[in-house]
């Protein structure tokens, strides 16, 4: 038994010694870790297709470093612990050079320890609650200061909103975002009695009393708006109930952070018209880059009705930057690519240039759009220039003094500027 193991070990290591370089010479492997079944499949399948399209385009341009790029697709099935397992499989069995994946925060948190242990590299393309910066992850979606805070600013400054309803689904992203927003609003002088916070379970369908509460809260003399982190299909009955109770977008506008073109595409948009959403990208923005992207997407999916959305743009930017970083570093080695990534630029699809910062977050413009009856957004407001993503919110007591900087000499994801020390925790 012992001898057998030993021999097999020798054979194996010999095989790896010979096989690995020749294998690596063939292709550069891109792992795709998006759920293709289960509740998140609706959203994540689109991102898998986006990565495949980008890989396709890269190969048409002659690949990377003279090699072909090959996508390895796995299905973590909306099962959070399975993300860790499949991530490990991608890194150890398939030996991928980079992973594009995850949607929910809990799935990202699940795969994170694996990435750090095996020194993998992942691009995460969805807006999230912040309070994290790992050496092994690049966050191409919006941090709270790139979505939630500008949206609230818009409500206060442009619409004159004085009372806020923070309504969300009961899980980590809405809870953290609302905590940040609450602190931010209080810092801006909004009294505690003018903030109403409400959580509902996933898939909540009976909104009558909550909408009626919002209506009551909104008819007490001050302009009121709802900031919604309600997730998934619970949105449909929510907006329906708003319409049925006669609350129009002029009376109480709703700004949503999780309602995009993809979510609107299978939906009766009538009750939603006029309500708002904050993103870094809308399909309706007219730029040459965006038109080319939409055209390529329609050609790739062979369906001219398919919509594009914000996480797709984040995937697009992430992939382009990674390809450039690999070219710059001349290798797919994770540490070299990680350093080459910082400072990378890629044109945004909505105009301007996205920059990868030292904290592994992007600088991107923030747009606010009104929902139209065709399921698209009409941009009503945008930031002047780009906003740099902030990993650690300045409005939470625990993270106020923390910054993330992955360049020398700090090289830390959570460096405390007061005590001048890194907590040592990796993420």
């Amino acid at each position: 038994m012992k001898i057998k193991t030993l021999t097999s070990a020798i054979v194996l290591s010999g095989a790896t010694l010979i096989a690995l370089p020749s294998l690596a010479a063939d292709t550069i492997k891109v792992g795709v870790l998006h759920s293709l079944s289960g509740t998140m499949a609706i959203s994540e399948t689109t991102l898998k297709d986006t990565v495949l399209m980008m890989v396709d385009e890269q190969n048409k341009k002659g690949g990377l470093l003279g090699k072909k790029v090959e996508a390895v697709v796995v299905d973590p099935a909306s099962n959070w612990p399975l993300f860790a397992e499949k991530g490990r499989e991608l890194l150890t069995k398939d030996k991928v050079d980079v992973i594009f994946g995850s949607w929910t925060s809990v799935s990202r948190k699940s795969v994170l320890p694996v990435l750090e242990e095996l020194n993998g590299l992942m691009f995460y393309p969805v807006q999230y609650e912040g309070e994290e910066s790992s050496k092994n992850v690049f966050y191409t979606g919006a941090a709270p200061n790139q979505q939630a805070i500008p949206a609230v600013d818009y409500l206060m400054n442009d619409l004159g909103v004085e009372r806020f309803v923070l309504a969300g689904t009961d899980y980590v992203y809405p809870r953290t975002t609302n905590k940040i927003l609450e602190a931010y609003l209080k810092a801006k002088g909004v009294a505690a009695k003018d903030i109403m916070i409400n959580y509902t379970p996933f898939g909540h369908s009976d909104w009558q009393s909550i909408v009626s509460d919002i209506n009551k809260f909104g008819s007490e003399g001050m302009k009121t708006a709802v900031v919604s982190t309600i997730n998934g299909d619970a949105n449909v009955p929510f907006y329906k109930e708003l319409g049925n109770q006669g609350i129009s977008s002029e009376d109480i506008p709703v700004v949503a952070f999780s309602v995009g073109e993809e979510e609107l595409s299978g939906l009766d948009t009538k009750p939603l018209v006029g309500h708002l959403a904050a993103w870094n990208y809308f399909q309706s923005v007219e730029t040459p880059e965006n038109e080319a992207f939409i055209k390529a997407w329609h050609a790739y999916t062979k369906n001219s009705d398919r919509v594009t959305n914000d996480p797709m743009e984040a995937t697009y930017i992430g992939f382009k930057m990674w390809a450039n970083a690999v070219t710059k570093a001349g290798t797919t080695d994770v540490d070299a690519v990680e350093q080459a990534m910082i400072g990378q630029t890629t044109p945004n699809l909505t105009g301007g240039v996205a920059v990868m910062n030292k904290n592994h977050h992007l600088s991107k413009p923030v747009l606010i759009g009104e929902i139209q009856d065709n399921g698209q957004f009409e941009v009503v407001w945008e930031t002047d220039g780009v906003v740099a993503g902030d990993a650690w919110s300045d409005f939470l007591p625990g993270s106020k003094d923390l910054i993330s900087d992955w360049t020398a000499p700090i090289k830390c994801g959570n460096y405390n500027t007061k005590t001048k020390s890194c907590s040592g925790q990796n993420y």
Partner: protein, 507 residues
């Protein structure tokens, strides 16, 4: 007018408002259709002609009509026109502009609504117009609304003597309009102490009435949730309560009913308003036949083995979900609400009942009554009761128990299908629809007492009202937990539910 319309058609969205102001100033009430079409987002611009046109949907076809003359333009194609888009700011402006024009409308109810619409935006011009109209107004309700508007104006004038303002505030205190409350809240920060105390007193008086109506509102929400629970569980009350089959696929029968509604609407897209009347019998048949099929193929072979039945029906529920996923895709399907079911019945400014919930409440009670009549008055009902009370004796008397079992299961499943039609109007129609109601359904049936339809009724409304009265204080998540804990404690005390079966049949 025409050059302005060209400007309107070619303007960028941010430049539209000044153009609308000029249009309003330059025209009389003939402009109303233009504003209304624009507000609804149906106004299109014909670039080649420099004209605007309204677009509407008639029986699924796009029809263009001249906004002013309502003449149909058959020569226009979709490519010839561009939509004139509006945003919230413009919608707000249009609403107010229409109200200003409608102050002199013929119909008193239109005039009254116009005045009420303007309460939130009483500028000097509007007040001047209202002051001119007030003495000559003949309709009592309109006059009252105008008086209210003028009182609000008087009360907010800080230059006037406090006594005048206090009189105006007292006049306002009989109104439930939210704009009135807004103004009073602002007046509580007024410089004059007398005005402040009057405003506080008025607010107090209004709050008392508002709270009374809020209670009615909450009661309605509870009844509405109760009616949904009743619909979802009443079919189960038959299959589980009467036959004793633990049917885990009950939720999927509801789902099938909801999908039937979707298919019916797909077949008759031009008659959405009538689709529900077709969907109800169709859903009953689809779910009912599926129920008979399940009973004949699976459940009757597992008679007297409850654990195996539970597992088998759970398997069936998974199969049905996957079947729907394969046929209709895993995405939610969109079921339209007929126009007569949307909107709400406004009783007063603080109390309005949404129509879809009102209809569903009535529908649930109707289904319940019909079901009770079927069980009490028909021969099928007699057979069902006989078999459920004493199977062997019924068999000995010549009742075809197999047939009765199949029919009972079909009836329960069919009613679940009808519930699906109702639920398709309230929630998302997707493969998981049934799963979100199966737990609630079992809860209601067990709480009400197995085998007792009246118990199901009482239990559904009790749980519905309890949940809705808990929700405002505890939040939706905790309310659901508290109700569950309550039921567990209740079942500990009375294992057979609210209305246990008595006598020999109970054993």
């Amino acid at each position: 007018m025409d050059p302005l319309l060209v400007e309107l058609g070619e303007a960028k969205m941010k430049d539209v408002e000044p153009i609308l102001v000029r249009i309003e100033a330059a025209s009389d009430d003939s402009v109303l259709p233009l504003f209304r079409t624009l507000l609804e987002g149906n106004l299109y611009y014909i670039e080649a002609e420099g004209q605007v046109v309204g677009q509407s949907d008639v029986n699924g076809e796009t029809v263009y009509k001249d906004v002013f003359t309502q003449q149909t333009r058959t020569d226009l194609q979709k490519g010839d026109v561009d939509k004139i888009r509006v945003n919230n700011k413009l919608r707000g402006y249009l609403r107010n502009a229409m109200a200003r024009i409608q102050l002199t409308a013929k119909s008193p109810s239109v005039r009254e609504n116009a005045v009420r619409e303007l309460l939130s935006k009483l500028d000097d011009d509007t007040v001047e117009v209202l002051e001119g109209l007030y003495p000559n107004e003949t309709n009592k309700k309109v006059k009252e609304a105008m008086g209210l508007a003028l009182a609000m104006n008087t009360a907010s004038q800080t230059g006037l003597a406090p006594s005048n303002r206090i009189a105006a505030i007292e006049k306002m205190s009989t109104s439930l309009e939210s704009d009135v409350r807004n103004l009073l809240t602002r007046l509580t920060r007024d410089d004059s102490a007398a005005v402040v105390s009057a405003a506080n007193a008025a607010l107090e008086k209004i709050a008392q009435r508002v709270n009374r109506f809020a209670f009615v509102d909450q009661l309605f929400f509870g009844l509405s949730l109760g009616s949904v629970l009743l619909l979802a569980s009443i079919g189960l009350a038959i299959t589980f309560g009467v036959m004793g089959v633990i049917n885990m696929a009950h939720g999927e029968m509801i789902m099938l009913g909801a999908y039937t509604t979707y298919v019916v609407q797909l077949i008759m897209p031009n008659y959405i308003d009538y689709s529900i009347w077709v969907a109800i019998p169709a859903a009953f048949l689809v779910s009912g036949l599926m129920g008979v099929l399940i009973e004949r193929l699976v459940i009757c072979r597992l008679h007297g083995r409850p654990l195996e039945t539970l597992l088998a029906t759970f398997g069936i529920s998974l199969i049905l979900q996957q079947l729907v996923r394969t046929i209709f895709s895993p995405l939610n399907r969109q079921v339209s609400t007929p126009s007569w079911m949307s909107g709400s019945w406004e009783i007063n400014p603080v109390l309005s009942l949404t129509l879809n919930r009102l209809y569903i409440l009535a529908f649930a009670l109707l289904v319940f009554i019909v079901l009770v009549i079927v069980l009490k008055k028909t021969s099928l009902g007699l057979n069902v009761r006989a078999v459920s009370q004493n199977r062997n004796m019924a068999k000995a008397m010549g009742v075809k128990t197999n047939w009765v079992d199949a029919m009972t299961f079909g009836l329960g499943s069919g009613i679940a299908g009808i519930a699906g039609v109702a639920l398709s109007q309230l929630t998302n129609v997707g493969p998981n629809l049934g799963q979100s109601y199966i737990i609630d359904s079992f809860m209601v049936v067990v709480f009400g007492g197995v085998g007792n339809l009246l118990g199901t009724l009482v239990a559904a409304f009790t749980l519905g009202i309890a949940t809705k009265f808990l929700e405002p204080t505890t939040g939706a998540v905790l309310a659901a937990i508290l109700v569950l804990v309550f039921i567990i404690l209740f079942i500990q005390k009375r294992p057979k539910g609210l209305f246990p079966q008595k006598g020999r049949a109970a054993e």
